[in-house]
């Protein structure tokens, strides 16, 4: 009897032990893992995310009370939904449902990042990111924007339709069908709200319009002094070909604020509070987009051709999702952000459009002077003004809520508090000027002419974008729309004083003065993140602008008389670097040949014959880029040595080349560490020899390294899960039109020829439509993208006309 009891107890123990092992959440090197039992279970865990590659998809029908009619969605063989609906709201519902069906986790994690709610699911490892987000007033901005947008009945209804679509999908989702990331991170999808959708707009502003170096510049100004700072970080670049050539005589001088006295003296000692640690999901600031259009005069067929390749963080799932929306009022194809209705970049039967980032600095940091420690009053123009407080409550998984009490001034939130001083963050995306802004894209999707597109710009959201447009009537245009701060001077590049009413902008540049080019004589419009205007543009603005691609783009467009779609593909895929074309001869000129051996000379000769193309297999490209980088590091050792890494800002290649060209005795060429006084000859030769040694040590020979070894291009999973990421072998370079830098590149390539009979369009996305790593549609387009191939994009007018249909989803009123 007793023995049996013991035996039973042992069996119970064994059972409980196995159950516990399978139920406990383990972690490997601080990476939490899900409970193995559920995760491994073939009926619940990751196996359920295995999408069949063999059985076809089944047709589905769903019903919902908010639908007004029937929607038919035909998915083609790339899983692109062709949504046939009777109105925008039903199309919006369907888009919400489909975005959730294909990309639910991406939608969830992206909005968590934007709204500062990552810690709720990731725990305290994401807390600092959330604090930074909340303190910068990003959630506040989204809430304010939603409040404003909700006053517009059309927007309100459209957002609600999309939200209903997302929630209808979530509501009917059983835990076994949750996207795998929910299972891995062990949480469930929450309800979607209109705030989530609005946050998508703010997220874009965060990615594209938060480019500022105020703190870096302030520290560098202190280290370098005004003269050298201006040499290294100039606001005027004579050699740049701007987006808009001007002229600007139409701008009424009365609107201008004359450049004020130099108020840099307000700055005082730079606060040394460091910028927050890099966000885990935050893209770096090295994105580079192109767009251009040629008129019929410049195309072989006589039809305008428009090209758009926005370069963003390369991720899996892709940042974009392809959609085709057909309603009685429109037939539009293009890419969208998951989280929002309508098509963002695309074309319909009449017009095509695309965007590049304007890259203006529209975010300022201002130092606050408090009356006392309570921070309830701050100094503004010699008066003490009452501050507001906003409590940011951040839920943290497995811990108590974290509360941030953020003081708000008239400029915005106090984003950073430290012993050296508190800093206010002022940003254009904190403001929402028009309740109809979210109608911009749905209306653009229906536009028939370039003129209509330009008129719609009155309701364009805050993020400054170079918007290229073309219509089948033959018009082409470029407009750099968005919120342009009306600045008094250039002091906004540095930390200003919150007590100074002119420290940042309080108004925007009037709509009519925003740079625009319509049907220019040169028969093309183009942009590549370069400076938007020449220096004759009467308003003051500054930012972080590209310097090379704009010129190579314009050169190609000017050189060739007429283009067709194939020519445009070649341009989008061009790996020719204008930077290398300009820099390499200079580097070679400064080589001290007497210090080189024969084998070195052989390489120099090979480099002289290089075609400046960043082919993935090219040893020349790899050597050149390492050599150049080493030479730049040796030249700017004054900055690198004196400034904390987080405040580091390296002068542009153009500035470096300008120094090499103009003043070889410049003291920047002197290496601080040595007693000798170096010249560019020493810098360039030392850099050459040390690059040679480094590469030889790592690769055996300088001829065995490839450009791909340096670039190491990778489509990284959004939660940095290596197993869900993908390495790619691609040509291109940051200052080539096929702008590749590690982790960034063309996130969508599109070419549209607008013929009188409708568009002929090509496009490719570096990923796939599905966000499920267990689906073949997760990365099925990567190969095409990698190889520079395009898919045909069509506008079938009926469900039966969709090429290669996979399955149909019907949505009807309940």
């Amino acid at each position: 009897m007793k023995t049996n009891l013991i035996k039973t107890a042992l069996w119970l123990l064994a059972f409980v032990a196995i159950l516990s092992i399978l139920s406990i959440k383990w972690s490997i090197e601080d990476t939490p893992l899900p409970a193995l039992g559920n995760f491994l279970s073939p009926s619940h865990g990751f196996w359920q995310n295995a999408e069949s590659t063999k059985r076809g998809f089944r047709d589905m029908t769903i019903a919902h009370p908010s639908l007004t009619g029937q929607v038919e969605v035909v998915f083609d063989d790339r899983l692109v939904p062709h949504i046939f609906a009777s109105n925008d709201y039903d199309a919006g519902f369907a888009q919400g449902y489909i975005h959730a069906m294909l990309r639910l986790w991406q939608m969830d994690i992206s909005t968590r990042f934007t709204l500062g709610r990552l810690s709720e699911v990731l725990g305290d490892r994401a807390l600092q990111t959330d604090i930074d987000t909340r303190r910068k007033g990003i959630l506040w901005a989204a809430e304010k924007a939603l409040f404003t947008y909700s006053k517009d009945s059309v927007t309100h209804r459209l957002l609600n339709a999309y939200t209903d679509g997302v929630n209808h999908y979530i509501k009917n989702l059983s835990p076994k069908d949750y996207p795998i990331e929910f299972k891995l991170l062990d949480y469930a999808p929450g309800e979607w709200t209109t705030l989530h959708s609005v946050s998508t707009v703010i997220a874009m502003a965060r990615t594209l319009s938060m480019r500022e170096y105020d703190r870096q510049n302030t520290v560098l100004l202190d280290v370098l002094g005004r003269e050298y700072f201006n040499i290294l970080f100039p606001n005027h670049l004579d050699h740049e070909a701007p987006v808009h050539p001007g002229p600007w005589n139409h701008i009424n001088a009365e609107n201008l604020i004359k450049e004020d006295d130099d108020r840099l003296s307000f700055l005082g000692t730079p606060p040394i509070s460091k910028p927050a640690d890099a966000d885990i999901f935050m893209p770096e600031i090295n994105m580079a987009s192109n767009n251009w259009a040629v008129s019929g005069e410049k195309s072989k067929s006589g039809n305008p051709i428009l090209c758009s390749d926005p370069h963003l963080g390369l991720s899996l799932p892709s940042i974009w999702i392809e959609n085709h929306l057909i309603t009685p009022e429109s037939n539009v194809y293009g890419v969208s952000f998951t989280g929002m209705p309508a098509v963002i970049i695309g074309f319909n039967q009449h017009v095509a459009w695309g965007f590049t980032n304007g890259s203006l600095d529209v975010a300022d940091w201002l130092k606050v002077e408090w009356k006392d420690e309570s921070k309830s009053e701050y100094l503004y123009e010699n008066n003490w003004i009452a501050s507001d407080f906003r409590e940011e409550i951040i839920k943290v998984k497995g811990q108590q809520d974290h509360t941030e009490r953020v003081p708000y001034t008239r400029w915005g939130p106090v984003a950073e508090e430290s012993e050296e001083g508190d800093l206010v963050f002022k940003w254009t995306a904190h403001e929402t000027h028009n309740k109809e802004e979210l109608q911009f894209f749905p209306k653009l999707n229906k536009a028939k002419t370039v003129e209509e597109c330009l008129e719609l710009c009155t309701i364009f959201p805050s993020v400054i974008q170079n918007m290229v447009m073309a219509d089948r009537g033959g018009s082409i245009a470029m407009r750099s729309q968005g919120y342009w701060p009306l600045r008094h001077d250039y002091s906004g590049q540095f930390i200003g004083s919150a007590s100074d009413s002119k420290a940042a902008w309080s108004r925007l540049i009037p709509f009519k003065d925003i740079p625009e080019t319509v049907n220019p004589d040169r028969d093309f419009v183009s942009s590549a993140n370069q400076k938007i205007t020449n220096d004759e543009f009467p308003y003051i603005y500054f930012g972080v602008f590209g310097t090379g691609r704009g010129r190579i783009l314009n050169r190609l467009l000017e050189q060739q008389e007429k283009f067709d779609i194939e020519d445009m593909m070649d341009m989008q895929l061009s790996d020719y670097s204008i930077g290398a074309e300009e820099a390499l001869p200079l580097l070679i000129r400064y080589l001290k040949t007497d210090q080189l051996r024969e084998r070195h000379i052989d390489l120099v000769n090979q480099l002289k014959a290089w075609d400046f193309r960043f082919n993935s297999e090219s040893p020349n490209a790899a050597f050149y880029s390492s050599w150049l980088r080493t030479a730049q590091k040796l030249t700017f050792d004054e900055i690198i040595g004196a400034v904390d890494e987080k405040f580091l800002r390296i002068p542009s290649l153009m500035t470096f080349l300008e120094l090499l060209r103009s003043d070889e005795h410049h003291h920047f060429f002197d290496i601080q560490e040595t007693e000798l006084i170096e010249s560019p000859y020493d810098i360039v030769t030392d850099a050459f020899l040390s690059t040679w040694t480094d590469i030889e040590e790592a690769y055996g020979s300088v001829y065995d390294i490839r450009w791909s070894d340096r670039l190491q291009q990778r489509l990284k999973h959004m939660a940095s899960i290596d197993a869900f990421s993908k390495s790619v072998n691609v040509h291109g370079h940051y200052d080539a039109l096929n702008a590749m830098s590690t982790g960034h590149g063309p996130s969508w390539r599109m070419i549209v020829e607008l013929t009188p009979d409708g568009p002929i369009a090509k496009g490719v996305n570096p990923g796939g439509q599905s966000g499920n790593p267990g689906s073949k549609y997760y990365d099925n387009a990567v190969h095409h993208w990698e190889e520079g191939m395009y898919f045909d994009l069509k506008l079938p007018e009926e469900p039966d006309l969709v090429d290669n249909p996979l399955f149909t989803l019907k949505l009807k009123q309940q």
């Binding site: 069996w11 196995i18 279970s41 073939p42 619940h44 999408e51 590659t53 063999k54 073949k776």
Partner: protein, 119 residues
């Protein structure tokens, strides 16, 4: 032998149904009940249940892996230090088999104890 096979088949059917609607750990419930009902030796109940559930799990996952062209198993395998799809299937099968096996062993042992107690 036929009875045993039949019992195990019933077990698998019950497990399969329970897994469609209930949590993953409920595979232990039909196994526990099996242990309480059958009159097999305790160790045999454990071993046969483990084997049956492991085989069922392995077949199920091999089928999933087949229709998926090994996409998800390949990715999860690399998540766990490139253990390989085969190992992943074996680990899955063993995990499910062990849980069901120990539940059945517990059931059988409990039954013996109750039986002796009532004698």
């Amino acid at each position: 032998m036929k009875d045993k096979l039949f019992s195990l088949l019933i077990l698998i059917v019950l497990i399969h149904i329970s897994q469609l609607y209930l949590s993953w750990w409920t595979i232990a419930v039909p196994a526990l009940i099996l242990g309480l009902i059958v009159v097999w030796p305790v160790w045999q109940t454990f071993a046969l249940t483990l084997l049956a559930v492991a085989i069922y799990t392995a077949i199920y996952t091999i089928w999933i892996n087949h229709i998926n062209d090994g996409i998800i198993a390949g990715r999860i395998s690399s998540l766990f230090n490139e253990i390989g799809t085969g190992t992943l299937i074996i680990i899955t099968a063993l995990a499910m088999g062990l849980l069901a096996g120990t539940a059945a062993g517990l059931g059988a042992s409990l039954k013996q104890t109750i039986k002796q107690n009532s004698l």
